[in-house]
């Protein structure tokens, strides 16, 4: 590649400015404000604030509600990741076969990704609402007591399905690309070596997909941690009780509903640290391993 050398620093700075400005305005400033806010305690009317050091953090970590939300997040995000990745992998393997209309099939599978989280939630609501939902009514008529507004486990199940459904498309694209990059002849060699399709999948295809799978695992966890607010908000609002309140949802409840800005900021800082850790693990792992 050709390197361009600028005379002086004015032009390069000018060219970098938009990107730097975006990073500063939309990331550094709010993140900095959150960190600063997390060290303060504000009075209920927002008239004055007091520096309290790390007290917000110690209080948050000691709260049983916060621990409950952390537990919910753990269940929710691992279930979403497993469900979304498993479904996507299954669909990608099917789409990788030479079938009639493969292109249409692939395009259709990618569509859900273009649906906004809240819209996706409404869609699932219309399906699973106990009194107006198609599936919800059918379940109740079949004698299964389905009401996610009363049953916490059912509510959790519903937001897991809705959140996973959104993410299947994304995973599908990556898995399909991963599958298509496996040389045909390698699979043919395995077939000649005596491996049946199921065995080929477990001993050849899956190991060769593992870099893709690991990347997707981190992406899916981050998605489940942060990008599922819309789905939860529209479907269950964290309820019934606090059965579906995840960490990100609790940040909202604490800050917007309870107007406890210090505590809410402390929680979002904790989340920020978590995602930074996840990303770091991913980069370390990808650098070290798995490129064949």
């Amino acid at each position: 590649m050709r390197k361009t050398v600028f005379k002086g620093t004015a032009l390069p700075l000018l060219l970098l400015a938009p990107q730097l400005a975006i990073t500063a305005i939309f990331f550094l400033w709010p993140a900095g404000a959150a960190i600063w806010q997390s060290l303060l305690q504000e009075d209920p009317w927002g008239m004055s604030s007091e520096f309290v050091g790390l007290r917000n953090f110690t209080e948050v970590l000691a709260q049983p509600e916060w621990r409950g939300a952390a537990y919910n997040t753990l269940i929710f995000s691992s279930a979403v990741a497993i469900l979304a990745m498993g479904t996507a992998l299954f669909l990608a393997v099917q789409a990788d076969k030479s079938i009639r209309g493969a292109n249409i099939y692939r395009t259709l599978l990618i569509w859900p990704y273009a649906v906004a989280p809240a819209v996706a939630a409404v869609l699932w609501l219309f399906l699973f609402h106990p009194s107006i939902g198609l599936v919800g009514r059918a379940l109740n008529e079949a004698g299964i007591a389905w009401d996610y507004k009363l049953n916490g486990n059912q509510a959790m199940l519903l937001i897991i399905i809705a959140a996973a459904w959104k993410q299947v498309s994304y995973n599908f694209i990556f898995f399909l690309a991963g599958l298509q990059s496996i040389p045909r002849s390698v699979l043919e060699a395995a077939a000649i070596d005596g491996a049946r399709p199921v065995r080929r999948f477990w001993t050849i295809i899956l190991p060769l997909l593992s870099p893709t799978a690991f990347f997707l695992l981190v992406v899916n966890l981050v998605y489940a941690f942060f990008d599922t607010f819309g789905v939860i908000h529209a479907l269950t609002g964290g309820g019934p009780g606090k059965a579906t309140e995840t960490l990100i949802y609790k940040v909202y409840v604490e800050g917007v509903q309870n107007v406890n800005l210090g505590s809410s900021s402390a929680q979002s800082v904790i989340l920020m640290v978590l995602v930074i850790a996840l990303t770091a693990v991913q980069f370390r792992f990808i650098e070290r391993k798995v490129h064949y």
Partner: protein, 354 residues
């Protein structure tokens, strides 16, 4: 070790007919080379024998057992691919052991066989490496090793040498031949390279547009090609073809370029004036005083031999290969010895024998 019988094998991809009825009988321990230009159906034929493609009609028998409908796994064959197709996430040892593990051989037996094959191929030192840490020649050896350990009934080679550089290719070619002789495994070898075909095969199958144009030993194909395609494909530089008609009651050919040549081996059947194609290999054309004057447009000195390109009076191209250097002249008199002529039907291109 086994025989292979292919009979009436046809393959179509939709309306495209790729193979038009191939019949081939390979004896136990024989090495058959399938050679042809790209798109002639040679790889398809190999893949059908392997079970990677299904035949449209016809049958395949390995060691007398009908395998046409069987999966590749059930055919007891091994294949070496053009791009080697090693499993990238496994070590060399695991690559070689994979097929044996699937068959549930005891661990000790697997280790023994892998070590034996590695010794045979000189790759003992590489057993712990991954394929991406190997050079092209080493990968090729591992691919061979993976085939050998299986002790299959049939070896299939799909242009395994075409990704190697010229020097390594010659070396591996000899190695494959030695190994195949030593193990005595029936083999099918696909290539587009006529030198590979001539040196490797006990017999060759020259494929042309989905047909087996000729199946014979390399020397027989060289000496008595069945049609103009085979004649032009085997031999380098390619055989010269000259147009002519049958003359003197079938005793001779009147060349479009002028001279009338009497056949050395007897008359050909056919009416006076029947169109013929006469073939003569460049190395058989002689320089002779009083011959046809050949104006030269290109001289290629190759050291031990010289290749001359010229045009006969009728405008037909003629290539001459001389042992040693050529006399320095703008045109040379050449003669076409009657004993070296190959006579083909001018319309069908089929060989005409007396």
């Amino acid at each position: 070790m086994a025989s292979l019988d292919v009979s009436g094998l046809r393959k179509s991809f939709g309306p495209t007919h790729v193979l038009h009825g191939i019949d081939l009988a390979v004896e136990d321990g024989e090495m058959i080379v399938i050679v042809g230009a790209s798109g002639c159906g040679k790889s398809t034929l190999l893949r059908i024998v392997a079970g990677l493609e299904t035949a449209t009609s016809g049958s395949i028998r390995i060691a007398g057992r009908e395998v046409t409908a069987l999966e590749p796994a059930e055919r007891d064959i091994a294949m070496v691919f053009q791009n080697y197709a090693l499993y990238p996430h496994m070590s060399v040892e695991q690559n070689m052991a994979y097929g044996l593990k699937i068959r549930g051989l005891p661990k000790a037996e697997i280790t023994r066989r892998v070590a034996e094959a590695a010794g045979l191929l000189g790759i003992e030192a590489l057993l712990g490496r991954r394929p991406r840490q190997l050079s092209g020649g080493q990968r090729q050896r591992v691919a061979m090793g993976r085939a050998i350990v299986r002790e299959p009934k049939l070896f299939l080679f799909d242009e395994p040498l075409s990704n190697l550089d010229a020097k390594l290719r010659v070396q591996m070619r000899a190695e494959i031949r030695r190994l195949q002789r030593r193990l005595g495994v029936t083999s099918l070898f696909v290539t587009h390279d006529q030198t590979e075909a001539m040196t490797l095969g006990d017999r060759l199958v020259v494929m042309h547009a989905g047909h087996a144009a000729q199946i014979a030993t390399p020397m027989e194909i060289w000496a008595r090609p069945a049609d103009t395609y085979v004649a032009g494909f085997i031999g380098s530089p390619a055989m010269n073809f000259l147009e002519g008609t049958l003359a003197e009651g079938g005793q001779a050919v009147a060349l479009k370029a002028g001279p009338v040549l009497r056949f050395a081996d007897g008359p050909r059947a056919g009416g006076e004036g029947m169109p013929l194609t006469v073939g003569i290999r460049p190395e058989h054309v002689e320089l002779a005083e009083g011959g046809i004057l050949l104006p030269l447009d290109l001289v290629e000195p190759l050291g031990s031999e010289t290749v001359l390109h010229g045009r006969l009076p009728g405008g037909e191209a003629l290539v001459v290969k001389l042992a040693g250097p050529a006399p320095d002249a703008p045109s040379l008199p050449v003669a076409l010895p009657a004993a070296a002529l190959h006579v083909f039907d001018g319309e069908t291109g089929k060989r005409l024998d007396p």
